[in-house]
Every structure is written in structure tokens, then in C-alpha cells.
Chain length 208, copies 2
């Protein structure tokens, strides 16, 4: 992926032409992913979409997998920033509601890339690493909320940490499927997950 320019900052704040291209490649990749899916998408397609030949593309990325890894990295960094920016909420109930709302947004916006990341986690170790880190972030957040709601801390099956991990997978998978259908399906899936999370936190409100 074209070694990071070693610290040296160019006076001209203008980006090199290559930065443009690199972004164009990732954009094209994302578009093609939506259009024909990972398997069907060829390196030639991406290059063409970005306005260069295959040969030139290999100057930027060493393989199709690296391109997609770049795309996932870009998206996932965005997630991380966003998650860092989220103010910690004191009331567990509100925290859960906020988290779910944010998660819906994330999946509505980046569902495609997130699904791709999940699909390739197994085959592309780099992507697996990125996604597992993301999952850990989520699991940590869920754990915190559970503990604040009174669930005992610890890693035993009935304690916060283990439950949080299971809940994280539940949310991931539910959203993975729902985001393929429609925003409406996403909302419904989210509600179900939220309800289960609340129940686990011992906050199973009247209904809704």
C-alpha cells in the first residue's frame, strides 16, 4: 500500500496526485462492491473505474485484497473516531438507547463495507484484525453499561464481560442481516436487540 512517506512533509500542502488516485481507487472499490459484490469485482474493473490500468493500480495496492483492506481500514477508522467522540452517558437506559441509535446510523451509512469486512475476516487476516478490534471496542462499551446497571463484573458466563461479548455478536449478526434488507428491517432488528440488552441489564421496562 505504498509505504507511508517517512515523516517528511511537503511544503506544498497540496496532495500528490497519487493521494487523489488512491482515494479514487477506494471509492471505485466501494461502488463496485455495491454493484457486483466482492467475488465478481476484478482488479481490472477497479482500475478502469479509477481511470488507470491494472498495472498502475498495482503501484498503489499489491492485490485486490489489499484494496479492500484499505477500504475497510478507512471505514473502520471513521467508526473508531465516532465511537471515541461519544460522550459517556450516566443513565444505563439512556446509554443503551443512544448506543443503538448510533449503531443504526453506522450500519445505514456503512453497512456494505461492514458486511464485507465481516465476510472477509476469515480469509484476509488484516481485515480480521481490524474487525476484531472493532468488536472489542463494542464489547467494552456494552460491558461498561452492564456493570453500571448492576451486573456483576467478571468473565464468568453470567457476569458482565461474557454477556457483553454474546450481546455484541447478537447485534453484529442481527444488523448484518437486517442491513441487507432495508432500513426498516434494521430498525426492527435494533429494537429487538435493545430489548434483550435491557433485559440482560435488569432494566426490562414495562414494554416498548
Amino acid at each position: 500500500m505504498r509505504g507511508t512517506p517517512p515523516a517528511r512533509r511537503r511544503r506544498t500542502a497540496a496532495e500528490r496526485k497519487g493521494d487523489l488516485r488512491e482515494r479514487a481507487i477506494l471509492d471505485t472499490c466501494e461502488a463496485l462492491l455495491a454493484e457486483k459484490g466482492y467475488e465478481a469485482m476484478t482488479v481490472g474493473d477497479i482500475a478502469q473505474g479509477a481511470g488507470i490500468t491494472r498495472g498502475a493500480l498495482y503501484f498503489y495496492f499489491g492485490s485486490k485484497q489489499e484494496v479492500v483492506t484499505g477500504l475497510v481500514a478507512r471505514t473502520v477508522e471513521h467508526l473508531w473516531e465516532r465511537s471515541r467522540a461519544t460522550a459517556a452517558n450516566d443513565d444505563p437506559r439512556a446509554a443503551i438507547a443512544a448506543a443503538m441509535r448510533r449503531t443504526i446510523e453506522l450500519w445505514n451509512e456503512h453497512g456494505l463495507v461492514m458486511r464485507t469486512a465481516i465476510d472477509l475476516s476469515l480469509t484476509v487476516p488484516e481485515i480480521g484484525e481490524l474487525w476484531s478490534r472493532t468488536a472489542d471496542l463494542f464489547t467494552g462499551a456494552i460491558t461498561a453499561v452492564l456493570e453500571r446497571a448492576g451486573v456483576p463484573a467478571g468473565t464468568e458466563p453470567h457476569q458482565a464481560s461474557a454477556m457483553a461479548r454474546a450481546l455484541c455478536w447478537m447485534i453484529e449478526r442481527s444488523f448484518y442481516h437486517a442491513s441487507q434488507e432495508s432500513p426498516e428491517a434494521l430498525r426492527r432488528a435494533s429494537s429487538a436487540c435493545e430489548h434483550i440488552w435491557l433485559t440482560c441489564a435488569g432494566l426490562a421496562g414495562g414494554d416498548k
Copy 2:
């Protein structure tokens, strides 16, 4: 996949030679899947393992995907039978415990193929179909237990059906990851899932 012989039953109960080969192919495929993974496994490898040439393999299956689909179908049919054979248990608590125990066994035994099925669900529609039917089976069973435990029936987010679907995905994903690690991890993941399921059913026993 060599069209099913149209009804006509041979007097000789003996299988045709091809049935042997077909099984050998699937067995080899399973072995290679464990050994080098889906991507790395080539049609030539499979053929060689089964003692024939690529050309001959194409007589049985039209592509690598079809071979794997065959393998998934074989495994999944086994699951279905097994799930059909499970006696309905009256006590929800016992039913949940039994279901989890059975699920651990399934994943210990067929984890590899099940993970493969999940991974390819998106790219191979046939496999997606098989797996989604399997998930429906599980979801149905979970729904039944929840309802028997007093969770209101219906498809609203807080009702049995929607909750069951989320729980099903939770279990799938938790087991998917855990089965990659170790039988021990599988047990722990199972306990966490069981606890959440119990909690959702309103049966959050003292502790365990």
C-alpha cells in the same frame, strides 16, 4: 450434480461406482477445507484427493462451489434429522439446557462445515438458502421455548418471535467464533448464551 436418477430403482441394491466417488469427493473436500481453507483449496486438489482428474470431477459437480454446496447439504441434512429427533421438552429450563448441549455437540462435530456454510452464504445462493432454512429451524425452536416460558407471542420487538431471531444470531455468531478456538471456548460461549436465553425467558435462576 449429476441429475437424480429419475425414480427408476435398480434391482441391485448395490450402489453405482459413482456414488462411491461422489462421497470420496465430499470427504476429500471436507479434509482439504480443514487443511488449507476454502480459498486455497483448488478443484485439482479435490480431484487428486479423490483419486481422479479434474475432468472427471466435473462429471459429478459443475464447480468448486457445487462441491462445497454438496458438502454443506450433506451436513445440514444431518442436522435437520437430529433436530427432528429431539423430543420436545416440557420444562423450559430443561429444554434450554438440552438445546444448548445439543448445539455444542453439533458445533464440535461439524463446526468446520458450518463455519464454511456461513462464510459462503452470501456468495453461494444455494448455501445461503440451506443455512437460512437451518436458522429458521433454530429460531422456531427458540420461539417455542420462550412462549412456553411466558413471553408473549408475536413479532413485535419485545415478543417471542423477534427475540428468538436475535438470540439465534447470537448463538450462531458466538459459536462460530468459539468453535474456531477450542472446545473449552465453546463451552464457555455456550454458558453465556444459555444465561442470556434464560434471562430473556424470565428464568434467570439464582446463578449456576
